[in-house]
């Protein structure tokens, strides 16, 4: 069941689109915001609410990089792996990150604190290498000081 808050948020967004099914991506994002990720159950709830086929919504949900179909940690790290960051030391940064966290890209720390994901260009190529933690952009990250960046996120 979608919560009243989720339903209300979806209905509010719906006013910006020409019809109900068009709101599918918005609904997925809203449910993800409330629950951290989109479970099979959450997906079925949205499909029912928008009156679209669950398989159709599933094909949308799995298409986009930032709809999570598996649980993620409390904080999501998006590390840019595109060309300018690669030139400016992405590999070293990734080494330090995986060592610090004890996980590989795509995984979540056992304590549920961080999920580490690669992401295409964050539009900070002139301040590379770049990464995001949740909504925060961190630019020109010194791989040796990546622990300090992570320390801000409990």
């Amino acid at each position: 069941m979608l919560s009243p808050a989720e339903k209300q948020a979806i209905e509010e967004e719906m006013r910006h689109y020409a019809n109900r099914p068009s709101c599918g991506l918005e609904a997925l994002k809203i449910v993800q915001k409330h629950r951290g990720w989109v479970s099979d159950e959450g997906l079925a709830d949205i499909a029912e609410f928008l009156r679209v086929a669950p398989a159709e919504l599933e094909s949308v949900a799995t298409f986009y990089n930032l709809i999570f179909r598996r649980p993620v940690g409390r904080h999501v790290i998006l590390a840019c792996d595109s060309v300018s960051c690669w030139i400016m030391g992405h590999d070293r940064l990734m080494q330090r990150l995986t060592a610090e966290l004890g996980i590989r890209p795509g995984e979540t720390t056992p304590d549920g604190r961080f999920t580490l994901l690669p992401i295409p260009c964050l539009g900070a190529c002139h301040r590379a290498p770049a990464l995001m933690v949740d909504d925060d952009l961190h630019e020109a990250v010194d791989p040796e000081k990546v622990g300090e960046v992570l320390g801000k996120y409990a």
Binding site: V60, S84, M88
Partner: protein, 425 residues
């Protein structure tokens, strides 16, 4: 030198709010267009200015708008979309424009929407641009509050709703027909180009899609006129351009300069040249999907037509610089990894071909390359080029590859011959 697009940028990372924007002359173009000009006059001014789309392809903006049906019998609602997806690796200009002066984009969109008589406008923003989203939310609310958005703007009889759509992340969303599918809540696969979006776009209605930087130019064209705008430029394409550069250079960044500034000036004057101990090997002039150019091409003017004459494209105008201490094969592997991952899977050559190309590049870089690999790559690149795929993603992916195979042949051969990457020691 005039810098209309960035003149209101504040040094401390803040952005001019409505009051500051108005104080600097903001929303005067809107007032002028909506109360003293017809929609056709606005489109004419933009046509006369030679403004070419800043999304990468350089399509003349006035010509695109002219194909919008706007008469009394034309279909409604009509839509206008700002493409703020900006996922082209190496490109960061639209983010700076939004964060630096969000009202400029909004005013540009309203004036443009008036020209094509749109009823609803969207800003299609990529999700990772969280600060840009904050700036836009505040600026849109302020614009509604001041009566620049909503019904009957400035008692002109013209009304426009403007919504912010935050994407869920996929490079293909930037392709304008895929963007419309994404806005309709579908997978971002491209649409058949037989129908123009100005005839059948969002929800089957007439739709104009333009890049953020394109819209930002419009208020200035309306205020100062086409002649002034053309005079800003050093080339046939009008206006200024937000150029940028990244890589091992002394001062990576972005600069607003006359359209047609040379690559050498960008690199040497504005970017301060290469970092100490590094030499220039080659560069991509305008993002990941442009061909490499070499030292001998540096004096070319950065505008849409000139860069094509040296076998590349201006693209987004943000240079990605390859230095002599970075492996070109590794760089190509990184680029093709991006394209393979972001292929939407709609057509076979791209869906199957890009992962295969990435696989072969990875093998070469790791010292497992075979003698026939380079010919195979060249052949693949041909069949992923223009005409063989459903959209421009795959041909774009081949631009760095074909030029790389040409310019870095020796490096490729060394990897294969020595069975290792010489840069990894």
């Amino acid at each position: 030198m005039e810098k209309p697009l960035t003149k209101n940028f504040l040094p401390n990372g803040a952005f001019p709010d409505l009051a500051a924007y108005e104080l600097a002359g903001g929303y005067q173009a809107l007032r002028q267009a909506l109360t003293r000009m017809t929609p056709a006059e606005v489109t004419q001014a933009v046509t006369d200015s030679n403004l070419r789309g800043r999304g990468g392809a350089g399509f003349p903006t006035g010509r695109k708008w002219s194909s919008m049906p706007i008469g009394a019998g034309a279909p409604r609602p009509r839509y206008l979309v700002a493409n703020a997806d900006e996922m082209e690796p190496g490109t960061f200009k639209d983010r700076l424009l939004i964060e630096g002066d969000p009202h400029q984009l909004i005013e540009g969109m309203i004036v443009s929407a008036y020209a094509v008589q749109a009823d609803v406008a969207y800003i299609f923003l990529r999700a990772e641009y969280t600060r840009a989203a904050q700036c836009l939310r505040q600026a849109i609310a302020e614009a509604y509050g001041a009566g620049y958005l909503g019904g009957n703007i400035l008692h002109s009889g013209y009304g426009l709703e403007l919504y912010l759509h935050i994407s869920a992340g996929r490079y293909m969303c930037g392709e304008s027909s895929a963007l419309m599918n994404a806005l309709e809540g579908r997978r971002a696969t491209p649409r058949d180009k037989v129908l123009r979006s100005t005839d059948s776009g969002l929800w089957g209605k007439p739709t104009v899609v333009n890049n953020v930087e394109t819209f930002c130019n419009v208020p200035h064209i309306v205020t100062h006129g086409a002649a002034w705008y053309k005079a800003l430029s050093r080339s046939a394409d009008g206006g200024t351009k937000i150029y940028g550069a990244s890589g091992k250079i002394k001062r990576p960044g972005a600069w607003e300069l006359p359209m047609g500034t040379t690559i050498r000036e960008l690199l040497e004057e504005h970017a301060g040249g290469m970092m100490d101990g590094f030499a220039l090997r080659a560069l991509l002039p305008g993002g990941a999907s442009t061909e490499f150019v070499l030292d001998e091409h540096l004096d070319v003017a950065m505008d849409f037509d000139s860069v094509q004459k040296v076998g590349s494209r201006m693209g987004t105008g943000t240079l990605v610089v390859l230095d002599d201490r970075t492996c070109p094969v590794g760089m190509l592997r990184n680029l093709e990894h991006f394209f393979a991952q972001e292929s939407c899977g709609w057509c076979t050559p791209c869906r199957e071909g890009l992962p295969w190309i990435e696989h072969v590049l990875a093998a070469i870089e790791e010292g497992r390359g075979e003698a026939g690999d380079l010919d195979m790559l060249a052949r693949q690149a041909k069949f992923l080029g223009p005409g063989y795929t459903f959209c421009a993603l795959a041909p774009g992916a081949m631009e760095p590859l074909t030029s790389g195979l040409k310019y870095f042949r020796e490096d490729f051969e060394r990897h294969i011959g020595e069975r290792r990457c010489p840069w990894r020691g």
